[in-house]
Symmetry: C2
Subunit: 190 residues, 2 copies
């Protein structure tokens, strides 16, 4: 998605520790019009994939997942990052390692919210090593549903998580794929 690549170059900031800050439009301050443009593009990419549900993980995935759900006209579910008191006992869960926060955490979805009949589109703001993606895939596996694909707004292609999923036959579409990020220089996959 050319408009996203341009927005990353114009508004993103590369910071020490291989961090790309896009909090100005994607994951703390949301550029509302732009996130719906991204949602519309995701809908276009997966319009024939018979998606019945979108699954993401709190918190940064929720906005883009909801925008896509709006255009695909399906419900959206977000996995919670810890077993909160009001989540209930009957949950699908998986363990995820976060490089950003430097720790492991658990993600969980109430078993009522995904059924074996679902075809689930996984969405997240970032795809890097693929740890969060693996957690979401594990949750769908437990539910017995099918995976329609995975879509990230921004894939750090050089970290290999996306290509590893593709090699296993999962359809991965990312709206922008970064193949190199050195200093301030960002090179997108063409």
């Amino acid at each position: 998605m050319k408009a996203l690549e341009e927005k990353i170059l114009a508004e993103g900031k590369v910071c020490p520790g291989d961090i790309l800050k896009v909090g100005g439009f994607l994951n703390q301050r949301i550029d509302t019009d732009f996130i719906f443009q991204m949602g519309s593009e995701i809908s276009r990419l997966f319009e024939t994939a018979r998606v019945t549900k979108i699954l993401t993980v709190e918190a940064s995935g929720i906005a883009i997942a909801l925008a896509a759900a709006h255009y695909l006209k399906v419900p959206m579910v977000f996995a919670k990052k810890s077993t909160a008191k009001n989540l209930g006992d009957d949950v699908y869960k998986a363990s995820v390692h976060s490089y950003t926060h430097g720790k492991d955490y658990e993600i969980a979805v109430n078993t009522d919210y995904i059924s074996p009949e679902d075809r689930v589109l996984l969405i997240d703001d970032f795809l890097a090593t693929g740890e969060a993606a693996e957690g979401l895939i594990e949750i769908v596996r437990q539910s017995g549903a099918e995976i329609a694909g995975f879509c990230a707004a921004i894939e750090k292609g050089y970290q290999g998580g996306g290509d590893s999923l593709r090699a296993r036959g999962i359809r991965v579409e990312s709206l922008a794929i970064i193949d190199e990020m050195i200093g301030e220089n960002i090179r997108f996959r063409s």
Copy 2:
């Protein structure tokens, strides 16, 4: 909002510990069509309030805040619940007590994302004792912006947080106000 009251009665579950579970449509599985109906209603309520920005707190507030932002055509910002590595040093922050999780936590917003010129509409899924609302108000106070109002999807009126904000002159609109919740019986404010 009559449709929300009916949805709470049809799909909500009252659980021990004064918990109203609405995870089936509002805060884990999102009923996409319905959340946009709620967003449209919030937009109608605040259409003349000169809102320039919506502020909520992760994670359950994000979906309804984004739906409202879509109709009000303004950016949406969500406060993060802990100071993550990629949040930056320059943040507005406030301490919040969570009754659901039984602990205090910090919420933070990058100072770039709210400016003194903003008129901020605060949105959350629930308003009960008003602890999270106070945290958001404190963040707006630090930014120098004005508060256009507070809107919750569901207000537990009997816990007093909403009326306390109203008594201080803050415009509070909740899409459904519960004045009594005893056993399975829910009585809405008329």
